[in-house]
């Protein structure tokens, strides 16, 4: 059983690293569009890894199904909200960052 725990730990830590990368992106990137990019990428990949790790620990298949549903919902919501924020920003005339 040790292998499952180790694998789960590795997956969770990898997910956490992606979230860390997303947060760093949020702080460091110059304008709203790049920050959105950083956040959405970190969100779905990081969350995907975490869900995989938790699925290993899950008792029944129903819980695995629920975890998958959560991940899909976050993907759907994250992508559309990012689009809405970006189009809102464009409508307000926030220009893209150029070096």
């Amino acid at each position: 059983m040790m292998l499952v725990d180790v694998l789960c730990a590795v997956l969770l830590i990898a997910g956490a690293v992606f979230f860390l990368a997303g947060t760093l992106g949020l702080l460091r990137f110059p304008d709203v569009y790049t920050r959105l990019h950083a956040l959405t990428k970190a969100d779905n990949v990081g969350l995907g890894l975490m869900m995989a790790g938790l699925a290993l620990q899950a008792g029944s298949w129903a819980v695995v199904g629920k975890l998958l549903l959560i991940w899909l919902l976050v993907l759907l919501a994250g992508a559309s909200v990012a689009h809405l924020v970006a189009s809102g920003a464009l409508k307000r005339g926030i220009r893209l960052w150029k070096r």
């Binding site: 759907l76 559309s80 809405l84 189009s87 307000r92 005339g93 926030i94």
Partner: protein, 321 residues
């Protein structure tokens, strides 16, 4: 195990500091838009705190109503307060009113420090191990008709509180309508993305609300969490530009709004005739009666929260609103 408790302590400490920091930033941030976003983040951290304190029902309610719907109401109010077509970014500068003069500035701070020190001492003076009413709740759980203790307390043991509380929600809507609240104006047509998001999510949200309502009987969930999810579906629809047909506006809507408290009052009156005590559920039918009450409550809470978000009084042809 020592490392684990240390880790748990660190997490609690960080969460506590996070809560205090977010609340302080939300209250003293010059930009109102950012203050509301910080408040929503504060609501989500609060939901995390409820999970840490073994209160999953409260976490659901806080995330759905405390952070979600209250945040949506605040955002809608801010949008109506400062229509953002004019300035370029969303930030709404509202000057922080510092009290004038040194004494006036430090007096409240010192007074509040004393108050919190006193309250902190009082809280710490409470006995460390106490079970409160959990013994009585566990003893009567079997005859309450549900297995989830929180739903048992909410719907059966203290059902009278819940009746009054649903009337409070209805009363808030009545107050908003009697004020003739400002309509949520639609400046631009909703984009294709928001439209498809609404088309996909709303049926799923209604399904999740039904699931939460059903699962409330034996696991965290129940009428208020389900009603909040239904309210969120309503808010999403309203954001996507959907408005109820005018014909629907008159008494059908009002009937559904009153369904929750109305069902409670009718059942309370009937039970009084039969059992001789207000809101005393006969143990055999307690489960069914609670389910009926919860279903009616979910419908009216969902509709009321969506109508509160809409704000304005629904116009209908007869002019009698």
């Amino acid at each position: 195990m020592e490392a684990l408790t240390l880790l748990a302590w660190m997490f609690d400490g960080l969460l506590g500091l996070g809560l205090l920091w977010l609340a302080w930033r939300a209250l003293t941030c010059p930009d109102l838009f950012r203050a509301i976003v910080l408040f929503i983040a504060f609501g989500l951290l609060m939901a995390l705190a409820w999970v840490r304190l073994d209160a999953p029902d409260v976490a659901l309610a806080e995330a759905a109503i405390g952070a979600g719907l209250t945040g949506a109401l605040l955002m809608a109010a801010l949008a109506k307060l400062h229509p953002t077509e004019t300035n370029d970014n969303l930030s709404v500068q509202a000057e922080i009113s510092r009290p004038k003069g040194r004494l006036l500035q430090w007096l409240p701070v010192v007074a509040l420090l004393l108050v919190s020190a006193g309250l902190g001492y009082v809280v710490l003076s409470l006995p460390p191990y106490v079970t409160g009413l959990s013994a009585e709740v566990a003893a009567n759980l079997k005859t309450s008709g549900v297995d989830n203790p929180v739903t048992a307390v909410l719907l059966n043991f203290r059902g009278y509180d819940t009746l009054l509380e649903m009337v409070v929600l209805l009363l808030a809507l009545l107050g908003v309508w009697s004020l003739g609240g400002t309509e949520l104006h639609r400046d631009t047509a909703p984009g294709i993305v928001l439209d498809t998001l609404a088309r996909v999510l709303v049926p799923l949200l209604i399904l999740v609300a039904a699931y939460l309502l059903w699962v409330g009987g034996h696991a965290p969930g129940g009428a208020f969490q389900a009603g909040a999810v239904l309210g969120a579906a309503g808010v999403l629809l309203l954001l996507a530009g959907w408005r109820p047909r005018v014909g629907l506006m008159a008494w059908p809507l009002r009937l559904m709004l009153v369904a929750g408290p109305g069902a409670f009052v009718i059942i309370a009156a009937l039970l009084y005739m039969i059992e001789g005590q207000l809101l005393e559920f006969p143990t055999a039918q307690a489960g069914i009666l609670i389910l009926v009450l919860e279903t009616a409550a979910t419908v009216s809470i969902g509709l009321t929260l969506a109508a509160l978000f809409l704000g304005g009084r629904p116009r209908n042809d007869k002019g009698l609103t």
